[in-house]
Symmetry: C2
Subunit: 460 residues, 2 copies
């Protein structure tokens, strides 16, 4: 299913151009310039003989090879002719990148209906129109006009191309990469439900992330979601939540935004994860991509910053979560590594002088403690005592790795976004960093809720 | 008032040390190494003859010069003797950096009472104990063991030193600098109220930011707050909001955390700004430091990203805010700069190809529109069409600067944290960047509420 989109044997680009000021060129050169891409490539242009050293055909029908995937970059008003050619050529899939359809006016909507009917009858699947395209970094396919994300285990369907692009900016510095990305735009044919089904069976997809504004078939979406959300985390952000936002969404993709209360109810029933804003969405992606799930909800905290432990504690109480009480065994275990000023309570404030050794030993002891399910290693990177800016994180990771990451360990390193050595090390280790008490608490809420609801479902 | 803390003519450091593994050394070298500092410096050490080329005295009383400020770095148990010396020497202020006092046990609390009583009788003011110290970048004073922040218009009082340190990490990349910083620690004498009073009269302070866990004198705090919050924005984050958090706070600074509901009520009455988490706290600091206040709450949005406009619209509705309807005059004004696919509605999605020229012209037209009070210039930085990554921002800034920044312009550049050229340009221009729809909406809520409540107060 859909492999002709994400791993096509042959691609034809309709409207290829060498003019760097045109979107068609961005797509063309994103496809042509990737040396890893094994697909056979064919360019179709009205005007050019050759682009980037590659021969251009005057029409799709001139190409002798079979074509899996056609990418359409020409203006809306001339798309229909190419659709007819696609039908004659018996292609499998079409991506219409061009805009100027249902998001503009009634005439555009009519054009969409016509295209979708023709393709349906010919058994050709369509993505778009009004989209940035699709991507599969693993095979070097960037059939879009945005930047190629790094490769990873997250598959994403976004109804907005620019939100996809912005998310890549946010994800890459944390090493969060993409398995498959699709911007479905006005979604006149391929929509969320079938894409979900495809990602479910995709071995390279661990986490599924959806940005959605409207659903074409809510019932079908719900059915698929209910089946899948028990297996893989499905993280959802809804754009157009209320009357104003829905109006904005409608002028964005030309479809009526789906009612938020309905979406909420549906997602809740299906155990998908609904996020309230982009920041939470990114945190959820990071959490499910990089953390193991906990056995229970008992939390142990170590830190070098009393203030951040206080703020973290405030934040988890919002979610009905609690810190556990340290056992005497644990206290005895960790005491030798701590200075006498440290109080043996949870959250454990090891005070500003704690370094790699303390972070390593205490994280290890908490992981080994059967009473603790989730470990939060908080830190404000100390600019004093000649400490290395990544030593605390390295101590935590050493303990976590030695335990084979059996329990979730949450490194809560306040506003450490700009410590390059730390971030590079985290990427190398495929380990997360959470940047605030708020973010760390939200991550824990997510994994605890996931575990709880899935334990229930599996029992019932 | 308090100039002997923030701009002392002379400083004595008790417990100066050359051992880079000791906090005393961090403070000593932070003070000694700043060439801009004009204060006369005196080191007191039991053991060293000389530190960093500077003579050491055996005791405070050996120093012939008068001393404004004494900084104490020695262990808690030997502090009392130095306090006696301070009284004999008639110093004006003392900062006790050392920990091991009321935050540890009852004995520590008793020691605090003794110190505070002695100093009160001698008319000497005390900051701390258990604090990182104070800073005044303008005069080159870093009397603390954390990094010196950049100079700016924000004065900050933090009950947690590490939260201060973390906030500097978060603020500096946005060019948000400090006028005065103080970590009051266990606050046995100098507390929030008097510091506020001092900052109120400080010409270099435009915005006041407080991280507080407990208040020693709530009534006095409220009095001062009520007077000041009408003049300067006072931004507050409270640590220890609920039973668990309050317990954590209590083991942090040794004081009982103040009840959150009371703080909320007090802040609301006094028009101070209460933030719910660190992220909001930083956004509030940025907002009041870098944006002018609006005349009303009518919002106009331009963007190259339909999705981000949808999410922004969702977010402002949460705060009861609304987008205005564009006037015919405005539409006529901007149409020539936009492609025909662009719909003339608010939010204005100029579509992905819009560049510097469009951002400049449309921002300018919205600033000039008497029906619009607040302009939001949204952008997902395009990785295509050979666009410069900072051209959209530069277009917005050009229009804003030409108008002398009479209206708040909110550049909402999604997850553009890692575009170095953009951020450096923003710092140079002393202009903000907001990184998400959520953040931009919160900034607007803050300035609209501030304007509304202050208009009311000034009328009443």
């Amino acid at each position: 299913m859909f492999d002709y989109f994400f791993n096509p044997e042959s691609i034809a680009i309709i409207g290829a151009t060498a003019n760097p000021k045109k979107f068609g060129n961005a797509v063309t050169s994103n496809i042509l310039s990737n040396e890893n891409l094994k697909s056979k490539l064919f360019l179709v242009s009205n005007t050019a003989e050759e682009i980037m050293g590659k021969k251009c055909y005057k029409s799709l029908l001139e190409i002798e090879n079979e074509i899996d995937l056609v990418i359409i970059l020409i203006p809306a008003k001339v798309v229909l002719q190419v659709i007819n050619d696609c039908i004659d050529k018996k292609v499998k899939g079409i991506i219409i990148v061009s805009s100027g359809f249902g998001e503009i006016d009634e005439e555009g909507k009519k054009l969409e209906s016509l295209i979708s009917e023709k393709c349906k009858n010919a058994n050709i699947r369509v993505m778009g129109p009004n989209c940035v395209g699709i991507q599969n970094p693993k095979v070097g396919l960037n059939a879009s006009f945005i930047q190629m994300p790094i490769q990873g285990n997250i598959s994403m369907i976004s109804q907005s191309g620019s939100i996809g692009c912005a998310l890549f900016y946010a994800m890459e510095p944390s090493g969060l990469g993409i398995s498959k990305f699709a911007n479905i735009g006005n979604a006149i044919d391929v929509a969320f439900d079938e894409m979900l089904d495809y990602f479910d069976n995709d071995e390279d997809t661990k986490v599924i992330a959806l940005y959605l504004e409207s659903l074409t078939d809510g019932v079908q979406f719900f059915k698929v979601l209910k089946k899948l959300a028990l297996k893989k985390p499905i993280i959802v952000l809804k754009g157009g939540k209320n009357s104003q936002g829905m109006e904005a969404a409608s002028s964005h993709t030309g479809s009526i935004a789906t009612n938020y209360e309905i979406i909420k109810a549906v997602l809740h029933q299906s155990n998908a994860i609904l996020c309230e804003n982009l920041e939470d969405f990114i945190t959820a992606i990071k959490t499910f991509s990089l953390l193991p799930l906990p056995k229970g909800d008992s939390i142990g905290v170590l830190t070098n910053s009393g203030g951040s432990a206080v703020l973290f504690t405030d934040n988890i109480e919002r979610y009905g979560l609690k810190l556990t009480t340290f056992s005497e065994t644990l206290k005895k275990e960790i005491q030798p590594y701590l200075i006498p000023l440290v109080k043996m309570v949870n959250p454990l404030d090891m005070i500003a002088g704690a370094g790699k050794q303390q972070y390593y030993q205490v994280t290890k002891a908490m992981i080994n403690d059967p009473k603790i399910d989730i470990i939060v290693a908080g830190c404000v990177i100390p600019p004093f005592l000649e400490m290395e800016t990544d030593e605390h994180y390295k101590g935590v990771l050493q303990a976590w790795n030695e335990s084979n990451r059996v329990k979730p360990v949450i490194p809560m390193f306040l506003f450490s976004e700009n410590f390059k050595n730390l971030r590079n090390f985290a990427i190398l280790e495929k380990a997360p960093i959470f940047f605030s008490p708020n973010e760390a608490a939200y991550a824990i809420k997510l994994i605890v809720e996931w575990t709880t609801s899935h334990n229930k479902k599996n029992l019932s």
